[in-house]
């Protein structure tokens, strides 16, 4: 039997017995077969001893059981790694950061406590997936949209506390939450915001409550176990309209993005869109490949000419509008007027869809944009893909930043001997307001050498980004330390702040040790 670090086998056996008493024997998993289901299916450490494998897993089915589990873990100083559905596969899945941790699996807590269609919110437990909530709302015919993360089997709570993003106007999932219930490391249950007021009438309607607003502390964090969370939902709009804007010159990107930022920051475009480079999709065309293969690469003029000839455009964005049919039409008209200052700009009239929209009315990849969860994103690799992880820096919402990032990362890839080939790049996206998220997929393979090289490259790319003032919004467990170390202003003042809070709130360091680079006191390495 695998043991948690620093825990004797005698103590661990006693703890397992107590866990079994608390949650039922069948919900404490210790056999190799069962523990294997908690390993990271896309581990960058495949077949390597560094792979952090849990010692066991425990699956409570209620807040009281979570409290009991946490108290037992505290007594025996057993590290717990918390998962909701454990399906954020590009960022670590269900596996702990620290090998030997016990997985605290909240999947059985999958109750939808309330969906309110007058004030447009839901209160759910961590095991509830986007699929679950979607079906619940469909079955009851409620007129609210959910905002799914790309893979629909994810947990609303897990995704929001890891600060994931979606595509509709409620796309910033942490920002769209309202009210939490949390089991603290000492086993106490706490409610935040208006939930601190007994029998509150506005737990899901007003976020802050009174006094310090603590919710953010429990995101990307190891300070508590979130057992309930409220989410604001978007009232089902009348219509969804998309229209594309295409520009012909490289430098048209600057006004294109400035116009997009204006529309987004004004609340006219409220959904996720991506700045696409149609040329990137045409790389297989021999004519274009020949241009790129020229010594010194293709010149901007040549690429612009190619784009012109093929009627492709150099850059494009597809604008999503949600709202009353006549309002979205007026918004699109206004957007066209704004962008018409760019010479040669082309507009593609999109289709207008009226809600309720059925899953087969839109290409599956777009269905999440209208609140229908899907798994289509798992098609990102090839048919033989063995998994992927994401490198995901945040860059400013300017054309200049995109051009700079493109150059910096292309050069870095070249220097590291990586081609964009197996790696893939998803254009700057507005999953969060006022900035762009750029996603680079790193393939995972069952090949030790390739994974080692990829890990090294990943770490180098993180450094390259940091040198340019770009940081990651989230990362795989394998790189949390690397990313956390780049957020080092004033000798890691923020990290030291986190550590002070961690030591005070979780003195035994039992919750998610190492998560986002925050270690409990006894596991902390001396900083250089």
């Amino acid at each position: 039997m695998r043991l948690p670090p620093g825990v004797s086998s005698h103590d661990f056996s006693s703890a397992l017995t107590q866990f079994a008493n608390a949650v039922g024997k069948e919900w404490v998993f210790t056999s190799d077969d069962d523990v294997n289901t908690y390993r990271d299916s896309y581990s960058p450490f495949w077949h390597e001893p560094e792979e952090p494998i849990p010692s066991a897993a425990v699956a409570p089915d209620g807040v009281e059981q979570v409290q009991a589990v946490v108290k037992i873990a505290n007594n025996f100083k057993i590290p717990l790694w918390i998962i909701s559905t454990g399906k954020n596969l590009g960022y670590g899945g269900s596996a702990p950061l620290l090998g030997g941790s016990m997985v605290l699996d909240l999947k059985r807590m999958d109750r939808i406590i309330e969906v309110n269609e007058k004030n447009h919110y839901a209160l759910v437990e961590p095991g509830v997936s986007y699929f679950d909530l979607y079906r619940y709302i469909q079955d009851k015919g409620l007129k609210v949209l959910i905002d799914p993360a790309d893979p629909g089997w994810g947990s609303l709570i897990g995704n929001a506390v890891d600060r994931g993003g979606g595509r509709t106007p409620m796309r910033d999932h942490f920002d769209a939450h309202c009210g939490m219930e949390i089991v603290l490391p000492d086993g106490e249950v706490m409610r935040t915001g208006m939930g601190a007021l007994p029998d509150s009438k506005t737990w899901q309607q007003y976020r802050y409550g009174f006094g310090p607003y603590v919710d953010g502390l429990f995101s990307q964090s190891s300070l508590g176990v979130v057992t309930k969370m409220g989410f604001w939902l978007f009232p089902q709009p009348e219509a969804y309209l998309t229209g594309s804007v295409t520009v012909m010159k490289r430098d048209d990107l600057i006004p294109l993005v400035a116009g997009l930022a204006y529309l987004m920051n004004s609340g006219i475009v409220l959904g996720t869109t991506s700045v696409a480079n149609p040329l990137a999709f045409a790389r297989r065309d021999p004519a274009l490949a020949a241009l790129y293969a020229k010594p010194g690469g293709a010149s901007t003029e040549e690429l612009e000419q190619y784009a012109q000839e093929k009627n492709l455009g150099f850059w494009s964005v597809e604008l999503p509008f949600y709202g009353p049919a006549k309002v979205v039409a007026a918004q699109w008209e206004y957007a066209k007027e704004k962008f018409s200052t760019i010479p040669g700009v082309k507009f593609t009239e999109g289709t207008i869809n009226r809600f309720p929209i059925k899953p087969d009315e839109l290409p599956q990849f777009n269905s999440v944009a209208v609140g229908i969860p899907s798994l289509s994103v798992f098609g990102v690799g090839s048919a033989r893909s063995e998994g992927h992880i994401w490198f995901s820096p945040i860059i400013p919402m300017t054309g200049e930043a995109i051009l700079e990032a493109q150059k910096v990362f292309t050069d870095a890839y070249k220097e590291l001997g990586m081609s964009m080939g197996p790696m893939f790049f998803l254009g700057p996206s507005s999953n969060y307001p006022r900035c762009f998220l750029v996603l680079f997929g790193f393939p995972i393979e069952h090949d030790i050498e390739k994974n080692r090289k990829n890990r090294e490259n990943f770490k180098k790319i993180v450094q390259v980004a940091a040198e340019h003032g770009w940081g990651e919004y989230r990362t795989h467990t394998a790189f949390m330390e690397t990313v956390a170390q780049t957020y080092s202003f004033n000798n890691h003042a923020l990290l030291r702040f986190h550590e002070t809070v961690k030591d005070a709130v979780d003195p035994n360091g039992i919750l998610a040790p190492g998560k986002c680079g925050i270690w409990p006191k006894h596991m902390r390495k001396a900083r250089a």
């Binding site: 190799d32 390993r39 290409p363 994103v377 048919a383």
Partner: protein, 117 residues
């Protein structure tokens, strides 16, 4: 290591399977119906028909016919369970808190309902 071996074994089994599944005590209709429900919840989003089904697309790209699991008659409970619990390629593992052993039996019953004895 163990996982990799099991997956490889299952994969070999799956790809070379033109033979009929071994006869077993047939599941009842209720279990098949339950299996259908569990399948719809857990498997359909990736392995169903229609656009945006990566599991179906992956099997199709690798020459599997039919690519939709529900249409197959060559799967065995052992193979189904191996894939669910161990994953394969980009399909991750599924835990007992997601698909219980009883639910997995039901999925197996559903996906083998048309197998020839």
């Amino acid at each position: 290591m163990k996982k990799a071996r099991a997956v490889r074994a299952a994969l070999v089994l799956l790809c070379s399977m033109s033979f009929a599944a071994a006869a077993f005590a047939g599941p009842d209709d209720a279990q098949i119906e339950k299996g259908h429900q569990v399948y719809n919840k857990w498997c359909f989003p990736c392995h169903g028909t229609g656009a945006g089904k990566p599991g179906t697309a992956s099997l199709a790209a690798r020459g599997q016919k039919p690519a939709v699991l529900e249409e197959r008659t060559d799967l065995t409970p052992t193979v189904i369970k191996a894939f669910v619990r161990h994953g394969v390629l980009f399909m991750p593992t599924f835990r007992k808190t997601e698909i219980s052993d009883a639910d997995l039996d039901a999925i197996a019953a559903y996906l083998t309902r048309n197998n020839k004895p």
